[in-house]
C-alpha cells in the first residue's frame, strides 16, 4: 500500500507544475501536512457548498461557506462565504432546499473569483467536510473548468469518522443517523437551521472538534484522512 503522504504528494506536485501562477499554484505549493501530525496541531478548513444538484458532472455550486479549524479550536474570525453567479440553467428546484433563488444567486461573483477565494482560504489547510466527496468533486470540477487541471484535495470527512465511531461496536448504524444534524445531536451540539453554506460549515467544524475529543487530540492526522 502506498503511504498516504507520498502518493498524494506526488500527484499534487504533478498538477502544481501545470497550474498557472495564482491561487491554484499557491494552494498546491503550500506544503501538505505531515500525516503523522497530531490532530492538536492540524490546520483545516471546514467547507460547505450549496449546489444545484448533488452531481458535480451536471450541477453547479451556488454558494460556499468556510470556517478554519486550528487543532481543536474553531476560529470564528476566519469564517468566510461567497455566492456564485447564477448558472446558465438557473437554480431550478434546488431552491427548495437551500433557499437560494435565481435573484439571490445573481448577487454572486464569477466562478473564478469565488474559487480563488476558497483556494486562498484553503492554502496550507486540510479540507474538512461532512460527506466530503461533494465539496471535493465540485471544487475540482470548478478548477478544471477554470484552469483545465484540478488538485487532489487532502481531506477529512466527518461522516467517515462518524461511521467509523458508530461501527466500533460491530453493528451498522441506523439509516439517517449519520447525517450532520443527527451526528451533532449525539455530542450535545446545538441544532442549527440546515442548508446555509456557512452555517453548515460551522456545524461540520464543531462536529469535528467534538469527534477529536473522542479520538484524542494526540492521534495522528493519517488516522482521519480520507
Amino acid at each position: 500500500m502506498t503511504p498516504f503522504g507520498w502518493g498524494r504528494g506526488r500527484r499534487r506536485r504533478a498538477t502544481e507544475e501545470e497550474a498557472p501562477p495564482g491561487p491554484l499554484r499557491d494552494y498546491l505549493s503550500a506544503s501538505p501536512p505531515d500525516p503523522r501530525t497530531p490532530l492538536a496541531q492540524v490546520r483545516l478548513l471546514a467547507l460547505d457548498f450549496e449546489t444545484t444538484t448533488l452531481e458535480a458532472a451536471t450541477g453547479s455550486p451556488l454558494s460556499a461557506g468556510w470556517v478554519p479549524v486550528d487543532g481543536t479550536a474553531v476560529r470564528l474570525g476566519g469564517a468566510g462565504s461567497v455566492g456564485f453567479l447564477a448558472p446558465a440553467a438557473g437554480v431550478g428546484d434546488s431552491a427548495v432546499f437551500h433557499g437560494i433563488t435565481d435573484d439571490a444567486a445573481s448577487l454572486g461573483v464569477d466562478e473564478r473569483v469565488a474559487v480563488e477565494r476558497i483556494l486562498a482560504a484553503l492554502a496550507g489547510r486540510v479540507l474538512l467536510a461532512h460527506h466530503a466527496s461533494i465539496e471535493t468533486s465540485f471544487l475540482a470540477a470548478a478548477c478544471r473548468r477554470i484552469w483545465g487541471v484540478a488538485p487532489e484535495f487532502a481531506c477529512v470527512d466527518t461522516l467517515e469518522i462518524e461511521h467509523r465511531l458508530a461501527t466500533r461496536g460491530g453493528s451498522e448504524p441506523v439509516p439517517g443517523s449519520l447525517r450532520l444534524g443527527a451526528s451533532r445531536e449525539r455530542y450535545g451540539l446545538p441544532a442549527y437551521g440546515a442548508h446555509e453554506a456557512l452555517t453548515d460549515a460551522l456545524a461540520c467544524a464543531e462536529l469535528y472538534v467534538a469527534q477529536v475529543s473522542v479520538l484524542g487530540a494526540a492521534s495522528p492526522l493519517k488516522s482521519v484522512l480520507s
Binding site: D70, Y187, A205, A210
Partner: protein, 618 residues
Amino acid sequence: MNAELTAVRDFLGSHPPYDALEPAALSALLATMSTVYVRRGTEVIGLGAANDTAYVIRAGAVEIRDTADGLVERAEEGTTFGVSSVRARAGSNYRIVAIEDSLLLTIPGDAFRTLLARPEVGRFFDLQSSARLRAAVLATRVSDSRHAIFGVTVRDMLGREPVTTSPTTPIREVAQVMARHGVSAILVIQAGRLVGIVTDRDLRRRVVAEGVGVERPVVEIMTADPISVDPDSPAFSVLLEMTSRGVHHLPVTDPDGKPLGLVSAGDLLRLGQSSPVQLAADIARQQTIDGVVTVASGLPRLVEQLVTSDVSADDIGRATSAVADAAIRRIVTLAELGLGPAPAPYCVVAMGSLGRLEAGLGADQDTAILVDDSGDAADAWYGQLAAALTDAMERIGFPRCPGDAMATNPRWRQTVAGWRQTFRAWMDEPEPTALMEAQIFFDMRPITGDVSLYATLSADILAIAPRSARFLAHLAASALSRTPPLGFFRNLVLDRDGAHRHTLDLKHGGIAAVVQLSRLYCLTKGLAPHNTQARITAARNAGVIGQESAENLSDAYEFICYQRVRHQARQIREGLVPDSHVDPDELSDLDKKHLRDAFGVVKTMQNALSVTYQIGFL
C-alpha cells in the same frame, strides 16, 4: 471577512451582557472568538492556573468551585466564566470543570478586557449574582387570585363618594342621612377636613343607650379625630389594623386630611375567602380558651394556602403573627375574666420572631409581662395569667421556649423599672452567654394590655444602645458566628456521588444571621423597627448600610424565609413537625443556586461588619 456566522451571533445576541452590544461591537467581538469542545469531566480552568480566556457556554454545563473546593455555581448555557481571572490578569481563584459534554465559545483576554471596559458590561458581571437572586425573589411574589388581597391597595377598594355630614348637624338628621344612603358609618367634615366618624354602633351605644337627645349636634357623640388610612396602604395591612383595634370601618384620607371614602372590614374580607384576618376575627369572637385553641389551630392550613398562593414570606410571617397576636389578646382577655381584675396595669409583650412579626409555624413562644411601677410584678395574679397563656399557646402549636424566655418564668415578669435595669445591665456590662439569650428581648413588641408601659421602656433602650460600644461589639461577634452554610453546597456534590446526605439548616447561618445583622444595624442608631425587612429599610435610610447592600440583604432574607415556609408547608401536608432543615432533594437546581447566592450575600454583609468592628471573621 464579512461573513455572518448568524448561528453564533444570534446566540450571543440573546444572552446578557452581549445582547446590549451594538451590531458593530458584536461583530468585532465575534471576529476574536473561537469554539472548543470539552468532554464531561474535563478541567477547563485549573485552580490557581494562569487563565487569559473568557468562556461562554454555548451548550452543556460546568461547575465552578472555589479554593476550598466548594461549589460556587453550576453554570449552564449562556453563562460566561473565567471572568475574574481575565479581569485581574491573575491565576484563577476557581476550578472549572465540565459536568456535561460542552461546546464553549472562547474570548481572548485582551478582547474580553476591552469589553469589560464598557460600563454596562462591567456592571453586568459585578451584579451577576445579586441580580440572579433578585429575579428569583420577584418570581416568588406572583400574586394569585385566591389571595387577591395581597396585591390590592385601599384605593382599589374605594367605591362611591363618602357620605358626609357637618359637626353641627342634629343626631336625628345624621341618622336619617345614613338610613337614606344605606350606610352604617358617616364621616363628619369641617372645612373640607375629616374631624370625626359616626357609626351605627355609636348611635346605639352613645345615643339610644344613654338617652342623649336626638336634637343634639352630632359632634357630641362622634368619634373625634379617627384613625384614617392612606389610600396607597395595602388592603391586607389595613385589615389587620382594623382587627387589632376592633373597629369595622376606617376612613381613607389623602395626605391633606381630605376624606376620600370609607373601607369596611366586610369589603376587605370579601377579597379573600380564608384570609388571616377572617381567622383573627373568628378567634376574637371565641368565648372560651378552648374555643380559641380550636379555631387558632386552623393556622397551619392557612399558611399552607398562602404558600401555594405564592404570597411573599414577609406577608406570611405577618399573617401568622397577626393570628398569634389575636390568639394572645383573646386568651388574655378570657383569662382575666376568670382571674378577676389585674392588681396593677400590665402589658403582655412578645419577643423573638413574633416580636418581629415573623412568626413561623412551630416557632417557640417568647413572651414577657411588663407591670406598672405602682404594682408588684411578683403578684401571683401575673403568674397565673402567664400560665394560662403559655398553656393555651402550646396547645395551638407554639411550643414552649427551650430557653424559658416566657412569661411563666418569674425573671420575665417585671415592673417597667425592673425591666429598665435588666436592659441596662445587658447593655452596660455585656456578658457573651447572657447576651446570647437576651438578644431576642431587643425584638420586644407589645401585644395586649397597657401599651404605654412598653413605650417608655423602648425609648430608654433606644437612647442607650447606640452609646453602648461593648454591647454592640458583642452583638456583632454573635452575628458573625452565624456562619452561612456555604460548605453545604460542596456536600451536595458529594451526595450526588452517593455519599451520606445532609440537610440544609436555613435558620442558623441564614435567617438568624440576617435577623442579628439587621437588629444590630438598628440598635447602632437607636432605630425603632422590629421587623427584619423594616429594619433593613430603616438601616438603609439612616445610612448604616448602602442602598445596594440593603436590597441584596432584603432579597436574600426573603428568599431564604420563603424556602423555609415552603418547606414547612410541605411538612404540614405530610403530618410532620415543621422545622428549618431542608433536604436537598426538596430543592430544584435553580433553588439551590439562588440559595447559594443568598447565603453569599449574608457572608458579604458579615465580612463588611467584621471590618467595621475589627473582629476576625471565622
